[in-house]
């Protein structure tokens, strides 16, 4: 039994049992893979894949049983290589980040900039998307880490690190009555105006609806959109009061807009970094996490990841870049 044979087995499984396709995935020829698979099978004394005359249709029950062990085996092989790379201090490669729009647009630029300063050889591949798309990319090993604004439902083998807490803020034109309010904003104040916020607020379980419901009010959603840039534009156009994440509020916005503290009205949210569990991340991934969530600096994200518990660290609040 060879490590290579196991790799080939997994490549075939992951290519949907198409040996030809699996062949270029491992940069080899199709007959080679065919033969190696066969050799593995008779070494083990059983067939791993179902064969319908001359095409592979799926795993045999035995293959199903062996698959996870094969996976951790090649995963560890990868970890060994990765750790060796890290040890030598190599900082080459491409950092592939999956992130929601809010993260990619408002949070990550600062970190990306800093990382590039630290490690100029690292190229950064940023992939915005919806949380479930991003998690799927992460699962398929198409990205190195995910940055999401909510915990979402990460699958069992993900590795979830809380990065920072954040709050919702209100946004109104500077001449708006709420801008000159001398006391803390209340729900009843907001309810006077149409609301401009994220699409997710239409969701019956959204925290915005919940907050309003506490006062027995149904919010007047003037307009909802996917990204904070649009929200700002509509607020500027006078459509109503914007409700968006504090990360999205930039200094340049204060030229035309006034930000309201809604911290006491809405719950505290948390942004997360998500990794594949059990996989040693490349050095630049660890460096990136150190920038985004420095409170893990002393924690063993680096090595092993064997212990899945979320570390008992103090997660900081969001802090805008200076």
């Amino acid at each position: 039994m060879t490590l290579q044979q196991i790799r080939i087995f997994l490549a075939i499984v992951d290519s949907g049992f198409n040996i030809t396709q699996a062949a270029d995935r491992v940069h080899a020829t199709q007959p080679g893979l065919s033969k190696q698979l066969k050799q593995l099978e008779d070494h083990l004394g059983l067939s791993l894949v179902q064969r319908k005359s001359k095409s592979l249709t799926g795993l045999t029950p035995a293959g199903e049983v062996l698959l996870p062990h094969a996976r951790t085996m090649v995963r560890e092989a990868g970890n060994i290589l990765e750790l060796a790379r890290n040890w030598r201090g190599s900082t080459h490669g491409a950092l592939r980040i999956g992130a929601t729009h809010a993260q990619a647009r408002y949070v990550l630029p600062e970190m990306v900039q800093k990382l590039r300063t630290q490690m100029p050889e690292v190229s950064i591949d940023l992939r915005p998307g919806e949380p479930d798309e991003i998690l799927e990319l992460l699962r398929k090993n198409d990205i190195d880490l995910a940055v999401l604004s909510h915990s979402s439902d990460a699958w069992p083998d993900s590795y979830v690190l809380p990065a920072y807490h954040w709050r919702m803020r209100g946004l109104v034109p500077i001449e708006h009555p709420l801008a000159s309010l001398q006391r803390a904003v209340k729900v009843s104040d907001l309810a006077q105006y149409p609301i401009v916020t994220y699409n997710s607020a239409r969701n019956p379980g959204s925290s915005l609806r919940a907050t309003f419901a506490l006062e027995g009010i149904v919010p007047d959603l003037a307009c909802t959109t996917r990204d904070a840039d649009s929200i700002k534009a509509y607020v500027k156009a006078g459509l109503g009061v914007g409700v968006l994440s504090e990360m999205a509020v930039e200094v340049s916005d204060y030229d035309h807009l006034h930000a309201l503290d809604l911290g006491s009205l809405f719950p505290r949210y948390t942004s997360f970094v998500i990794l594949r569990r059990g996989e040693v991340p490349p050095k630049f991934v660890r460096s990136f996490i150190a920038l985004l969530a420095p409170h893990y600096h002393a924690h063993p994200i680096a090595l092993g990841l064997d212990r899945p518990e979320v570390f008992a660290v103090q997660v900081p609040d969001w802090r805008p870049a200076p």
Copy 2:
């Protein structure tokens, strides 16, 4: 990087950095290993072992870091082979059991007999010993499973399955006054006589001392010994009241001895089966466990062992063979 290279690396580590010795462990020649280790090292781009001119002294820090990953890698390789063997239903091999004397002498004979009936090709290698010796054998992969009468301090990577609960019993000659006692035995009854029991009772924290201490009594240990056979002999010789595990009481003893129920006086003990965590045991090991602790019949001892929790099963009380 080859699976074989990793195996060789581990063999060298496990032979105390003696390549010559490692060579026969993997049934190969010494120069071969030397070369493979070197190849692995320059493939990884770092040295794994400390070299003092021309002898190996220990691991480098990098080697230290990689070692656990190397271990799980070859462990999974072994698991794959083992699962394949199981799948083919192979029941060959030697079942190596480490057990305390009480287990080996009174409990296991029945199970061994049944296993041999089921799987005549399996040869059984029974190794009696002290709990810590046995656990060490288990750790070093010199036995397949351990059967102990107490939980003891299994090391972190052991896999502990409670097998059955048991009680202490008293043993007296048939003509002894306690034999004709018409009520339940009390500590004060026992205290009337010298006690014959296990060496462990001399231990200040022993449950026998604790039980007596509740009544403010210090037991008169007439004689302590390592195995129950000796206890019986001394009881027959009239040295005192025997206190021993119920498994040690056999029907043939009733010719000359009378057994006392001490269930309410002493705590409930538990016997355990201990395995190496993360390792798929051979089929005959699983069959053996099924005989010794049938309550695990539906539980996935067989596969993976990835989830280390002790299953929430009802552990039965000890039941003598019919």
